[in-house]
Amino acid sequence: MDLTPHLPALQVIVPMLSAPLVLLLKPRGLAWAGATAASVLSFAIALNMALIVVDGGRLHYDMGGWAAPYGIELSVGAFSALVLLIVTGAAAAAMIAARPSIDRQIEAGRQPLFYSAWLLALAGLAGIAVSADAFNIFVFMEISSLASYILIAGGPDRRALPAVFKYLIMGTIGATFYLIGVGLVYMMTGTLNLADMEARIVNVTDINPILVAAGFITIGLALKAAVFPLHVWLPNAYTHAPHMVTVFLAACATKVAIYVLIRFDFFVFQANLENHSLQFSLFLMPLALMGILVASAVAMFEGHIKRLLAMSSVAQIGYIILGASFITEAGLTAAAAHMFNHALAKGGLFLAIAGLACHYRDLRLDQLAGAARSMPWTAAALVICGFSLIGVPGTAGFISKWLLIDAAMDEGGLAWLLVAIIIISSLMALAYIWRIVETLYFRPAVEEPAPGEAPLQLLLVTWLVALANIFFGLFPQFPLALASAAAQLLMRHTL
């Protein structure tokens, strides 16, 4: 039987149906094995689809056999395939590595519940990426959000609770704003299918509700994506979450929201609203630039290693939004490529930190001094991923930074300002990564040295991701092919 036409549906169904099954596997080793199998299978499905659509193709699937626009359509193009690779790759890598870290942080009896919530979060995030229906995206967004609130609050750190409450409030406001926007578009067009919306907005006589909808949708999704200054929920949530949850969510959760933002704005609004591209750029570009500068500056003076990297995530989201706000093919390619490369770098960094956390209870930089002497392999992987985050040539991060600078050069009068900001913020990244390196390698230890390396399972995956950072720095063809196919597809819809 050929399963290829069913891949978009399976992408969601596999993790979603595994979630309740994992609950039944009481011996905790089995629950972990089940969740890992489902995550790896999802990754295999995503990889398979990416190979099919990398040449600019598209996979369609009509849910229940009802054709769009009446039924719910699933559709996977190059952009969604790239996002799916990030989501499922992060979930699979984190899940394989997770067991030693999870055993330390989550009591045995609650572990099946935790794994189940993990799979639901994966199903939700994958669902957002495959769906071509605006309301369906809302439902999947809430599935993934509710599951990630559970994951973040699941750890032993009580400070995670107020953090997750704040995330819940802001996330729900963001999702509700999106819902209002979708409602207004539906009111004027009578459809929820994204492609159908695009076709019908042309005939709308009173354009004001659509303008309001564009505002609600952009702000709602910017809240979910933690675009500066709507990022206040992010640092605490990432800092106090269980370490493996930080790996998973930091690599992909905000990027999925950015994906919906870009997709909605480019597919539905760009081609139809006069001056929309100008408004989109004028609104998002200053926010992106401020986010890049402010968040990098805060990260330079942050004392907790996880919060430092969380602030750096806010700056990296700024880069992605900046690339998108150019509204050029080069800019969008850079944005999409940076999504992928940042997921690799940040995922690797948080994996290495999860390794450190197996021996160091307190993750403030002062307490981690001299850790590289007792855990040289973990620290080395952390440095490689850190270099990728800065954008050192030969690592994945360099490729997308280079593309972004290249795209910024085409921006006419603004070009030099943009390039200067990108370079200054890269220097800031160098400063905060160097602080970590200095602490780990050159400062005398204050704590007792750790008894040894991180658990082998965790260490191997960390190194796999670190090597992937180098591999995609030297051979970036595949993600770049997806990114540029995505950019071409998005630009085709622009005026």
């Binding site: 809430e142 509710l146 609130y149 609050a153 009580r158």
Partner: protein
């Protein structure tokens, strides 16, 4: 815009007011349960907007009966959508309350300022 037109949009005015009341409550209150109440009010406003737009004057439920084929029907789709959104809202509220319970267990208070002082 004359008075009648303004009144014609009555439901949408209520939507805007309720939405603002909810959002204000979420931002202004420091008690976590009150914040959740505000969040629920905020979401209910959106339900009202969806239900309002599907109403067709004189429309009935879209059930085709023998001998009554020429009825005007209201649009059922937004109602189905909002049924889903209500479920989402209830789950969010339940999860939010569960988190508040755990915050109370861990901190002994549900006032935001006292929690911030505690850490």
């Amino acid at each position: 815009m004359n008075l009648l037109e303004l009144l014609g949009y009555f439901n949408y005015w209520v939507f805007a007011v309720v939405l603002s009341v909810g959002l204000y409550t979420v931002i202004a209150k420091i008690n976590l349960v009150k914040k959740l109440i505000g969040l629920s009010i905020f979401q209910s406003a959106v339900f009202l907007m969806y239900i309002t737009m599907d109403k067709v004057e004189g429309g009935t439920a879209p059930i085709i009966q023998k001998g009554m084929e020429n009825q005007i029907y209201s649009n059922p789709l937004p109602q189905v959508l909002i049924l889903t959104a209500i479920v989402v809202g209830v789950s969010t509220l339940a999860l939010g309350l569960a988190i508040v319970v755990r915050i109370f267990e861990a901190y002994g208070t549900i006032e935001e300022d006292e929690i911030l002082d505690a850490d």
